[in-house]
Every structure is written in C-alpha cells, then in structure tokens.
C-alpha cells in the first residue's frame, strides 16, 4: 500500500512538472482559456488514435452485454463513485446531500448486492455526482488553463488536480489483488467509453471542429456543475 501511494505521489509530481514546463511553450491559441492549444490538439490527436482501438471494444461490449448486465456494471462502479461524491458534498458544505449519498452507498452496497442494483434511487435518494475539481471550484479556485490529456480527456488545470486527488482516493486503485484491480479499472474504462457512444454521433453531427466543440461544451458544463445548475439567470437573453 505504501509503495502504491508513493507511486501515486510521483505521478502527481511528474504531472506538475509537465504542466510547469508547458508554461514555456510557444502557442498559437485563439481562446484565452486555452493557451496551450497546440499541445492540446496534439494530445487530442493521440486520443483519437487510441480511440481507433478503444471504440470498437466499447461497441462490442455495448452490443454483446444485455441491458441488465450493463446497468449492473454501471451501478456497481457508480456505487463506488458515490463514496467520493459523498465526501465531496460534505467538503462543499452540502451536508444534506452528503448524508443522502452515504445512505445511498449503505443501501446499495447491502440490499443492492454490492452496488449492482441502485435500490436507493428507487427509494427516492437521488444520485448526485461530485468530484474534487468541483469542490475546489466551490471553494473559489478558478479554472486555470484548459488541458486535453491522453486517456482522461478534457480538464481545466483545477480539474486536473481534482482528478489526481480523486484518483488517489479512488477505492478501485486500493484493491490489493493486482489482476483483479486491473480488470476493474479496464472494465470501468470500457463501460465509460460505451456510455459515451451516443454522444459521439451527436458531436459528429453538430461540430465543425470537434476539438473546439468539446472544449467549449466542457467548459460550459463544468461551470454549471460547480453551481449545481443554480443561480444562472444568464441563460436568459439579458445576459446573451
């Protein structure tokens, strides 16, 4: 466990160095929120390349697994993430939501057979999703420059650090049986990719420049998540 944690710290340190180093890069950006557009577009291309392999696996999984199996797998990993959601809701001072999330984990882990069934939702405990990047946002930390990372995709600087903290707390990474842990990480990744398949089609249809479209949508979406969709009268035209 200690070695694992040390490894994780090293990863964080490495990422910090990479991000620091980028500050010196010359860029040709035209969005002030995306000063490292050159680097990001390169990473975007890397991901599109990786996706040539990943997408067919996700499609195969999506086609082969019956709906109840997929729902069960989604619920199982959702239940694990609910632990992080609970912690982050409490950190954001949303006690009621945090308690409800703890209730969800307790109910789904037991009656829901290890999280495979989302009984709590049926009982009226609504699912929330929070992460440490959102918590930092609620605490007043700004976005910082936008990044597009291999595998994990779009993240602002704040959300990149948030993601590192989430990963360090992620229970799946603490499974001591290495082959089991790797399988869990792999299945969760493919499940996530499969859940994005319908979105692919829409982005393909909607976007002139996929990179731009994803960036702008990501930044808008994060802003709204941090505010929990509240207090945004700017959706009305007086702010357009």
């Amino acid at each position: 466990m200690k070695i694992q944690l040390a490894k994780r710290v090293c990863t964080v340190a490495f990422a910090a160095v990479v991000m620091g180093g980028l500050a010196g890069c010359a860029t040709t950006a035209n969005n002030p929120k995306d000063p490292y557009e050159g680097f990001n577009r390169a990473m975007f291309t890397v991901n599109e390349g990786l996706d040539v392999v990943i997408k067919p696996i996700a499609q195969g999984y999506d086609a082969a697994a019956p709906l109840p199996v997929k729902a069960g797998i989604g619920n199982f990993f959702g239940n694990i993430w609910d632990v992080l959601t609970a912690v982050n809701n409490l950190l954001q001072g949303k006690g009621q939501q945090g308690m409800s999330d703890i209730g969800r984990v307790l109910i789904n882990s037991t009656i829901g057979i290890g999280g495979v069934f989302d009984i709590a939702s049926e009982m009226g405990l609504e699912k929330h999703t929070e992460d440490f990047g959102q918590t930092l946002g609620v605490w007043g930390v700004g976005d910082g420059p936008y990044f597009y990372w291999p595998l994990i995709g779009p993240r602002t600087t704040r959300d990149t650090f948030g993601w590192m903290v989430d990963s360090a707390m992620d229970p799946v990474w603490y499974v001591s049986d290495v082959p089991l842990r790797n399988s869990l990480v792999g299945v969760r990744f493919i499940d996530l990719r499969a859940s994005l398949l319908p979105t692919d089609k829409i982005v393909e249809q909607a976007a002139f420049d996929k990179y731009n479209y994803i960036r702008d949508a990501y930044l808008q979406n994060r802003q709204s998540e941090i505010r929990d969709g509240k207090g945004d009268d700017c959706k009305l035209s007086r702010c357009y």
Binding site: E126, H128, Q205, K235, Y240
Partner: protein, 204 residues
C-alpha cells in the same frame, strides 16, 4: 339556473386561463415533449437510428415552436449586425438544418429515459422564461435539459436549448466568430452549407 351555470363556466374558464398564464411556456414544452416521446416510444425505426424519420418528426412537431432567426443571431453574436437581410436568411436556414439534424440524432438515442418537469423560472410579467426539465435514466444522475423561451405574437418560442449547462447555441459562438473574422459572413454561410451537405442523411 342559467345564471349559475354561466357563473360556474365563467369561473372554470378564468381559472383555466389563469393557470395557463401562470406557466404557459412550461405547458408548451411539456406538450411538445410528450407528443414527440409518445411517437418515439412506438417507433422502432427511430430507435434504431433512422435519422431521416426522426427529422420528419422534428420538422412536424418541434419546428413550429422554435425561433431559428433568434437562435442564429445568438450563435453568430456581434457579427450578426454586419449581415445583410439576405445573408441573415441564408444563415438561419443553414443553421436550422444543422440544429434539426443534431436534435434528431439525439432522439434516435432515446431508450427508456423519462422526462421530469421542474418549475419554470420566470416573473409574471416576463416575456422570456427558462423552462426546466430533467432527463431521468436509471443508474445515473438526471441530465438537466432547459429551454430559453420568449413570448412572440404567435405564442412562446424556444430560442436556446441548454443540455447539462451547455447552450447548444452559444457553444457555436467562438467557432462562428473565428470564421467570420477569417472569411466574412459569406464564409460562414459556406461553412454551414458544406457541413450540411457533408452530413446529408443517408450519405453516411
């Protein structure tokens, strides 16, 4: 007796209209949503990705409730005032095609989600409102789907659709601004037309 009858009827009518006035935009969105979903739920072709059929449905049931000129103006932003009436018309036409196809594509992804209607955000005298709904799907958190609507002579019309906090209209603004800066308004019209031609249903 007649008096009583007309009194009751009058009361009913005024109650009805008071209710309608309270949240006319919400009622409009609910009606359109339910009309569309009732059809999609029964139509296996649309569920299996028949975009052309979904487009026909959107054309018939959804289009009349959208103000595409306003949507286009918002997406183009400050450059809109530079466009001639003719250019504005072309821009709106092309942007409409793009949005209708995007929306139709999203419909083909419909599975067993349900829609929850939340209180509309508006003041009584407002001529604009934010109608709030949520897409509920088992096992994941609800996705907020909101409509910015405005009062027009022909009823309430949608001028923006906001999915999970992402405005479908303003998400285009940077891209459109860049294109106008580089190639002018005609360049933007051309870019939209090319995209629509390339994404013609049945071509891919």
């Amino acid at each position: 007796m007649r008096l009583l009858f007309s009194l009751v009827l009058g009361l009913l009518v005024s109650c009805g209209s008071a209710l309608a006035q309270e949240d006319a935009p919400g009622a409009m969105i609910k009606k359109v949503t339910e009309d569309v979903l009732t059809i999609v739920r029964q139509d296996k072709d649309i569920q299996n990705g028949n975009t052309a059929k979904a487009i026909a449905l959107v054309d018939a049931k959804v289009l009349p409730y959208f103000n595409f000129q306003r949507m286009t103006a918002l997406a183009v932003g400050k450059d809109w005032s530079k466009a001639t009436p003719e250019q504005k018309k072309k821009l709106s036409e092309e942007f409409k095609t793009l949005l209708v196809r995007t929306y139709s594509n999203a419909l083909t992804g419909y599975r067993d989600q349900t829609v929850r209607y939340k209180p509309t955000r508006m003041q009584a005298a407002d001529d604009e409102a934010l109608v709030r709904t949520e897409i509920v799907q088992p096992g994941s958190k609800p996705i907020p789907l909101e409509y910015a609507v405005e009062k027009t002579e022909s009823g309430w019309k949608v001028f923006d659709v906001i999915v999970a906090g992402v405005s479908l209209v303003s998400n285009y603004r940077d891209t459109f601004n860049q294109e106008v800066r580089a190639n002018g308004v005609d360049g933007l019209i051309q870019m939209l037309a090319n995209k629509n031609k390339q994404m013609e249903p049945g071509k891919k």
